[in-house]
Symmetry: C2
Subunit: 406 residues, 2 copies
Amino acid sequence: MIAQSGGPTVAINASLAGIISQSIKQETFTKIYGAINGIEGVLNEKFIDLSIKFMDHNDKIQLLKNSPAMFLGSCRYKLSDPTIDKLEYQRVFKIFAKLNISTFYYIGGNDSMDTVAKLSQYAKENNLDTIIVGIPKTIDNDLCFTDHTPGFGSAAKYIATTMLEIAYDTFIYNLHSVTIVEIMGRNAGWLTAAAALARNKYYKAPHLIYLPEVVFSMEQFIQDIKKVMLVEKNVIIAVSEGIRGKDRGYISAMGAEKDQFGHSQLSGTGKYLEQKVGEGIGCKVRSIELNVLQRSAAHIASLTDINESYLLGKKAVSMLGTDLNGKMLTLERTGNSPYCINIKAICSADVANKEKKVPSDWINQEGNDVTENMISYLKPLIEGEIDLQYVGGIPKYLPVNYWDEV
Amino acid sequence: MIAQSGGPTVAINASLAGIISQSIKQETFTKIYGAINGIEGVLNEKFIDLSIKFMDHNDKIQLLKNSPAMFLGSCRYKLSDPTIDKLEYQRVFKIFAKLNISTFYYIGGNDSMDTVAKLSQYAKENNLDTIIVGIPKTIDNDLCFTDHTPGFGSAAKYIATTMLEIAYDTFIYNLHSVTIVEIMGRNAGWLTAAAALARNKYYKAPHLIYLPEVVFSMEQFIQDIKKVMLVEKNVIIAVSEGIRGKDRGYISAMGAEKDQFGHSQLSGTGKYLEQKVGEGIGCKVRSIELNVLQRSAAHIASLTDINESYLLGKKAVSMLGTDLNGKMLTLERTGNSPYCINIKAICSADVANKEKKVPSDWINQEGNDVTENMISYLKPLIEGEIDLQYVGGIPKYLPVNYWDEV
């Protein structure tokens, strides 16, 4: 049985496709179930038969590999503490027993690995023999013990490409301007750092990069912009939605604090900074929020990312002999030139509910840019373009919510 | 001499590439100047020699064809009324005479056609023999007397693709939600209408479409959403930034009216509607502003659009014998299956400072969707994908602001 959980990425279906493809190839399982809407689908017994849907349909597997979001739907559901309430666990394993589930794959992020850890622990303690395996995904790249996470490379490629195109949009007028681009990432700055990949031998945009790992100072921010403006007509800034001030409160919330009249929900980090730059510098200012396209723009997915995610799915089947129970698969980078990865596995409990931040020596001393270490780390992850089918001028993706329920 | 003006599009460089390519092929001109930053560049004598740059460099012409924004930079400059102030006109034609300019091409939108009309009128009245030719571009598709405008098809393709990917991002959770996507277009709804192209046999998203041509009613809007919600779990709405209420004031400004405390600039149309839907319906609501990517996302340009824009540039040279003076080239659609266009020319004064709105019979009776006429009109314009080069995982575009000044 396979399920997907957490926020969408462009690569999460590639891992699903990898599991299905390898299972069919190895004839590992007699049947492959998909649970609809994550662990909730298991508890509610909402399943589809993936073996019927994909057996002898390699074209569909390829389409699945390149389709965004989650074919099986998602949930945000935290299992209860098993020392307090065992009912959910009993229900899950009763259903597993009824359907004769030998292996349960859960594709997700930090929270999903909590589910993997809890289920496998419960199985161990109760001598139940369903193997529970975690497969990582998150655009945030904040999982520990893996070089990077599936979905991150594609989000990074979208951000870098978009940042380059925003720069082109900015350069055309002969006047001073500041453009603030707000990028996802509440606690970790990996996605915002990826904006640096837009730079080339002609353009230094984004000229400034602010990550949540650095304490944000509005005075310094305005000074930084003024300094760049001495040499650049158009200043382009990448800023994480999660930047925080000295008091560790979100900058975006600072506007809310000042507004007593219930309009706080109108203000994002970028919009708030736009206002402040307008006041502090007085040139043309605009802010752009990249929004959900960062995690759903499959049309500009990274081939490296999609292939790695697919491989993780395949390995989750082919490595079953090596005691994968309770483990999450990881990507280990063995080289950068040529870029090379190995797939390993780690105890999911070690990953669950933790966040990997950007190391401080990958951020420059001024706290307004990333260093060469970060660039070298990021570069291989956005390499390559997928071969997408277009119908009527728009990409062809496998539809979701259109499975027949078993 | 060639110059570009107004807001950027993904296709405006294709027209420039077309002029250069055809001029070189036909040996029409001994020299091709590019004026930097539109008519301002002419007045300030900021030129580059495009013949040197592109002669025997077909690879560079191809790269230019696929590069976003404006290679020559832009301006927003309105020439004075020649009956009041002739100084600027004297200066322009003195410079043309000095450089022996036989033809001046101006690539732009409504305002740029005003420049074309004024310059050609002045030339006629003063027996000056520089031919002034307008080449249309605008993502807004609001130029009269042309079936559509270069740049619109690519913007429409970006909007349709993005809308589809937003829909995928939305479908994954098993809960009710409303997603409001704000699309460019202050006065004309063409771009917002293009969101309808995201629909396929599985998905009806966007379920509701609101154009500036229809008087917007907040009560009706909330009723419309409630009605869709009876059959759809996730309601996705395309809304033009320019929707207006009965008093013809922008909806986005309604929030500003209610907020006495200087926070009006924080609120866009989408954000304002998000708040209203939150209050009126109370489910999960989010708004997404597509922003400048609509006009700069060259990585998902429409091949039809790029090829037509290129062809317009070529025709602007090859048709020179047919009295193009003071004219703007137009696209005339001669068929839809197969889709076919002719290139014609019309007096630029007829186009200048006018806007083409969406016809009322292309909008449904309820005023919350477009009709089949609109879909048939739009479909061919987003067909085809360009063959883009990628370097290091991001698109390769010709750099701007890096010409040596002549």
